[in-house]
Symmetry: D2
Subunit: 341 residues, 4 copies
C-alpha cells in the first residue's frame, strides 16, 4: 500500500508560523510530511514525491506536467492567501483536485483594524494625542472641531468578500447606513446583510467613510483616482485596507494633503516604503505598515483552517473554510505575492 | 390665568449650544422663556420669576426658601449633567418636583471613543503611525509585536451606568468575555447584558482591557492606585473615560511609564492641563483632552432629551429620558462642575 | 437596638411561589420575617409590627395612619405586580419610602409567548394540526394558503413598557418594520430601539400583526373597538397580551368571526371564563388562559428581583430592577388585582 | 452568430410559480426561452435545442451523451432543490459547467416554522387552545404545568446547512446554549456561530429541544431511532424539519405516544399521508403537512436566486447564491424528488 505524502512548501510562510503544535499534530495524522521551509522545495524532490503526494501545502508551481505525475493528488492548499498563475487550474478542475486557500483567516484582524482606523479618522485620536503632546490641545466641543461621529455616519464598502462582510458585522451597533459596491455580487448578497447595493459613484458621493477591501483584478487597477476622490464629501474619510494597486496612490496622497479628505492606508505600492518616501511626511494620512492582517492569531488561523479542510478532503468531503480557486475568478486576480510574512 | 414661566439659566451651556431651532421651538410651546446665558441669572430676576415658574432649565441654586416661593414648579432640569449640592433635594422629593438631567446624552460619543481608544491601545495605531513617520516601522507580523487582538480579549468595565452599558453594546460583535464591577448594582442588571459580575480585584487580574466609567462619589476617590495597577496583567490596557478623581493619577502615569500597562485617558485632575505638565511627555499614554463626550451631536441630544421630558412633565407624566436625582445617590456624588463646554 | 422587621403579606402569592431557597435565605439576612400567607395579615398584627418594620413584601393596605406608625419603613414591595389604590402614595413620596414592584419579571415569558402566538397566527400551525387530524390537510404551497410570513411583515406594538420592549428584542432577527403607539413615551425611546413612533390609526392601517401590551388606565378602557378592528388589513393578526379591559371584547370576537382578522388572546374580561361562554366556540381565535406570563421561572424572578432591590435599599441605594410607583402614573392605573397566581 | 437558448424544464415547478414578472423579464434578457411546463420537455425538443443551449433551468436528464451535444452549456440550474442522479456530474466538473440549485430559498420559511413549532411544543399553545375549547383549561401557573421556557433551554441542531444556520440566527435573542451535530463540518464553522460541536449522543442527552435539519444521505437513513429517542430527556421536544427518511418514523411516534418526548413533524414517509394513517390520531405530536418551506415568497426566492446566479454565470463570474453540486456530496445524497410543489 502506498504511503500518503504531504508536500509542505510554504514560503514565505513556515509551518511554525502558521501551526500551533496541536494543529501540526492533526496534519501529521493525515500523511507523511516532507517539508522545505528555508527555501522553495527543489524540483528534484518534488518530482520524486509527486506520485505519492495526496496534499500540497504551499505555493509550489504545479504545471500540467507535474499534475500528470501526481495522480493521487487531492488538494493544493495555498497558505500565502493569493492564488498565483503558477498552477494549471483547468486540469485541477477536470481532475477534481481542490485548489483552495484559507485567506479568510485575515478577515477578522483586518476588519477590526478597519474599524479602529475608521474611528481614529472620525474622532481624531491620533491627531489629538499629537496636539496634546505639542501643547495645542483643545477641550470639549472645541477639541472636536472638524471631527464627526462614527455612529450613524453613512459608510461605503468597496469589495464585499470576507473582509468587507466581517467589517460589516463589526459596525452593526453603530447603525450606519451602509452602501456596498461590488460588481461581482448580486444584490441579494448585499441586501441580506442589511446594506444597499450601490454604484461606485453613488457610494463615493454619499459616504462619510469609504472602506476599500477590493482585490486587484485585471480590470480594476487604479480604479480609484483623482476623479473619484473629488466625488467624496469634504472631510470624509478614505481607508485603504486591501491592495495599493486599486488606487492611484499619488492622487490619494494629494487628496489628503489638500485637506479635501482624510486617509488611512495599510498598504503601499512598494513595501517596505523607502526611507525618503514623501508619504512619511504627508499630512492628513494615518500610516499603517501592512500590519492590519498579519497578527499572531491570524497566522495560526491560516494553518488551522487549512488542516481542518484537509481533514475533510481526505474523508472525501468538500472543504468548508477555505476559498476555492474558481476558474472564473482566478484568471482575473492580479495580486502580487507577499514578500514579508 | 397665570402665565407659565420657564427659567433658563444654563451656564456653562447656552441654549444655542444645546438646542437646534426645532427643539427650541418645542420648548417655547411649553411656556414663556426667560433666559440668562452670558452670566448666571441674577437673584433679583429669579426671585421675581419664581412664583410663575413651572420649569427651570439650568443649574440655578434652589435652596429651601426659593423652592417655597416656587409653588408652581414642576421640574428642575440640570443641563450640565452633574447634580450639584445647590438644591434642597429633600424638599423637591416631598413636593414631587422632578430634578433630572439628560446626562445620558454623552453616553453614545463616550462609548464610541472608548472603543476607538481601546482598539488603538490593543492594535497600536497611534504608535505605529508615529513609528512610520520616524522611519522605524515594521511590516506584517513584526509590526504587530507587543499588540493584541481586541476581539475576544477579556474586558473589564468599572462603573455600569449609561456609559458602561452603551459601551457594552458597542463591543458585542467582538465577543469579549466582559466582567463588570459596580457596587451599586445587583447582579441581575449585569448578567442580563451578558456580563459577569465581578469583584474589583478579579476584574483587574483577569482583564486585558479595563475601562473606567465610574462617577466620583464620597466613597470612591482615588480607589484605583498603585496596588490596583500592579494587579493588572503586563501589557494590559487601562482607559480612564469618566473622572480623574477616581484614580491616583501619578500612580497611573507611573504604571504606564514603567511599561507595565498601557493607558489612555480622557480626563485630568486639572483641566486645562498646564503647559509644562509632565504628562505631555509621558510614555505609554494616549492623551485625549476631555473630548470624548463633548461632540456637537451630544450637546444637541442634551437639549432634545431635556425638552422631550419637559413635555411629558407638563402633561403630568413621568420623564423617560433623563436621570432622576435620587436622594440615595445624589448625596454621594462628588463630581466637580464642568468649566468648559 | 430595635430589630428590623420584614412584613410579608404576599397574597395571592406565597413565599414558596416566588422565592427559591437561596433567595429566601438572602431575604432573611435583611431582617426578621413575619409572614402571613394563607390569609391577609391581620390588622392587629400589622399594627403591632409597624413601628419596627423596615420592609413590606406584599399588598398590605398602607393608608396615611399606618404609614405614620411605620417611621422606620424604607420600602413597600408589591409582589402581585399591579399598583393598587390602597396606599397613600403621596406620603410615601414625601417620606422617601420606595413603593416598587418587580412586574418586569413577567416580561420575558410574555414576550416569548407573544412571538409564539404571532408565529402561529401567521403560519397557521394550530389550524394546520387541526386540519391534519380531520383529514383535510393540504401540502406545500396549497397548505400555506391564507398564511403569511412573519419575517419582514409590518408589526405594530401598542404599549411599549417592559413587555413591549422585550418583545421588540425577540423579533429583531425577523427584520420587521415595527411601529409603536405609546402616548406616555417620547419618540426617542421608540427610535432608539429601531422602531417608528406612530399614531394608533397609522399603526392599525399599516401592520400585518398588532400586539397589545398596554396597561389599563383611566383613559384607555375599551379604546380598541369595532372602528379600530375595521382599520386593520384583511387577514391581519391581532394579539391581546396584556389586559382585556383595553379592548371591546365582543367587537374583537366579532371581527375574528367575520374572517376580517385573526385573533389570539391571553386574557378575558372575566377569568375563569364561564363554561358556556361562546368564546370557547369562536372561530378565528387562538385561546390562551392567562398563561403567557405565569411560568415557574417568572414567579421566581419576581422574588429574586424583589430581594435584590431590597438589599440595595437597605444599603441606602436606589432600587435597580423594580418599577417605581410614580405618582404621575399610579393615579391613572386601573388594572384589576389578579385572582389566580 | 448563434442564438443563446435557455431551456426551461422545471417540473414539478412552473415558471409562474417561481418567478415574478420582473424576474422573468431579467431571465429573458439572458437568452431565448424554450419552456415545457405541463410535461417534461420531449427528448426530441431537447436534442434539437442542446447545441444552442447556454442555460438549463430544470431537472432535465443530462447524461454524458446529451452533455456532449451541449457544447455551449454553461450551467444547469436545478429549481426543484434536490440534486438527482440524472446528470453526469463528473463531465460537468470537467467541462466547467455549473450545476447549482437555489435550495437555500427554503431556509428562511423553514427556520421560521421551526421556531414557531418549537415555541408551541415548549409553551403548549396548540394543546392549550384545544383544552380551552374543551372546557378544561387551567389559568396562570397551573396552566403552564408540563411546559418549559424556550428562552435559555439547551437546544440541539442536527444538520447545520442553510436551514440549521438560519434557524440558529433566529433564536439568538433567546440565549440558548446550542449544540450542533454535523459530521460533514469542521468545528470552526460551528463555533463561529456561537454553537458547540457535539456528538449525536451528547446532543440528545443534553438538549431540551432537538431540531433535525439533516439531508438524507447514503449513510444516515433512519439514524434516529428508538435508542436515540430513549437518550432524550423526559419531556424534551423533537422537531423533524427536513426529511422523514432520517428517522425511524414508527419509533418516533411511539416515543411521543409514551409521553417520553413531544414531537412536531413537517414530513412523513409517504406524502400525502393516507386518510386512515394512525399518525392522524397520534398523541403528543404536532402535525404539519410539509408546509414549512413551501411558502409563496420562498418559491419566488427560488426563481430570483436562480436568475441572479445565471446573470453572473453569463458574465463569466461564479454563482453566489445557489449551492453547488460538489461531486463529494452529490454522490451521497438520497433525497426523493418532491411530488407536490
Amino acid at each position: 500500500m502506498p504511503r500518503d505524502v504531504i508536500l509542505v512548501d510554504p514560503l514565505p510562510r513556515t509551518l511554525d508560523l502558521i501551526m500551533e503544535p496541536g494543529v501540526r499534530h492533526r496534519l501529521e495524522q493525515l500523511g507523511e510530511l516532507f517539508i522545505s521551509e528555508d527555501k522553495p522545495m527543489s524540483a528534484e524532490q518534488i518530482d520524486d514525491l509527486l506520485p505519492e503526494t495526496v496534499l500540497i501545502f504551499g505555493q509550489t508551481d504545479m504545471h500540467t506536467e507535474r499534475l500528470n505525475r501526481a495522480q493521487r493528488l487531492k488538494a493544493i492548499i495555498n497558505v500565502e492567501s493569493n492564488f498565483l498563475p503558477n498552477i494549471d487550474y483547468k486540469t485541477c478542475v477536470e481532475r477534481g483536485i481542490w485548489v483552495i486557500t484559507p485567506a479568510a483567516a485575515f478577515a477578522s484582524p483586518v476588519a477590526e483594524a478597519a474599524l479602529g482606523l475608521g474611528l481614529d479618522l472620525a474622532r481624531g485620536f491620533t491627531e489629538a494625542d499629537r496636539d496634546f503632546r505639542a501643547g495645542r490641545e483643545q477641550y470639549g466641543l472645541a477639541g472636536n472641531e472638524g471631527t464627526f461621529r462614527f455612529a450613524g455616519a453613512p459608510v461605503g464598502i468597496i469589495g464585499f468578500g470576507d473582509l468587507g462582510r466581517q467589517f460589516r458585522e463589526l459596525i452593526r451597533p453603530f447603525k450606519n447606513p451602509v452602501r456596498v459596491f461590488d460588481p461581482w455580487l448580486p444584490a441579494e448578497v448585499i441586501t441580506t446583510l442589511d446594506c444597499m447595493p450601490s454604484s461606485l459613484e453613488d457610494l463615493l458621493y454619499a459616504s462619510q467613510l469609504v472602506f476599500v477591501f477590493a482585490s486587484v483584478t485585471s480590470e480594476n487597477q487604479s480604479f480609484l483616482g483623482e476623479a473619484e476622490f473629488a466625488m467624496m464629501k469634504k472631510g470624509a474619510a478614505f481607508l485603504l485596507m486591501s491592495r495599493a494597486a486599486v488606487v492611484d496612490f499619488p492622487a490619494m496622497i494629494a487628496a489628503a494633503a489638500s485637506g479635501h479628505i482624510r486617509v488611512a492606508t495599510d498598504v503601499f505600492p512598494q513595501e517596505p516604503v523607502e526611507l525618503d518616501d514623501p508619504v512619511r511626511k504627508a499630512p492628513g494620512i494615518l500610516l499603517s505598515a501592512h500590519r492590519s492582517g498579519g497578527t499572531r492569531d491570524a497566522f495560526y488561523a491560516l494553518g488551522s483552517m487549512a488542516v481542518a479542510d484537509a481533514e475533510l478532503i481526505m474523508r472525501g468531503l468538500p472543504p468548508q473554510l477555505c476559498r476555492r480557486a474558481d476558474l472564473a475568478t482566478v484568471n482575473r486576480l492580479r495580486s502580487k505575492p507577499v514578500d514579508i510574512s
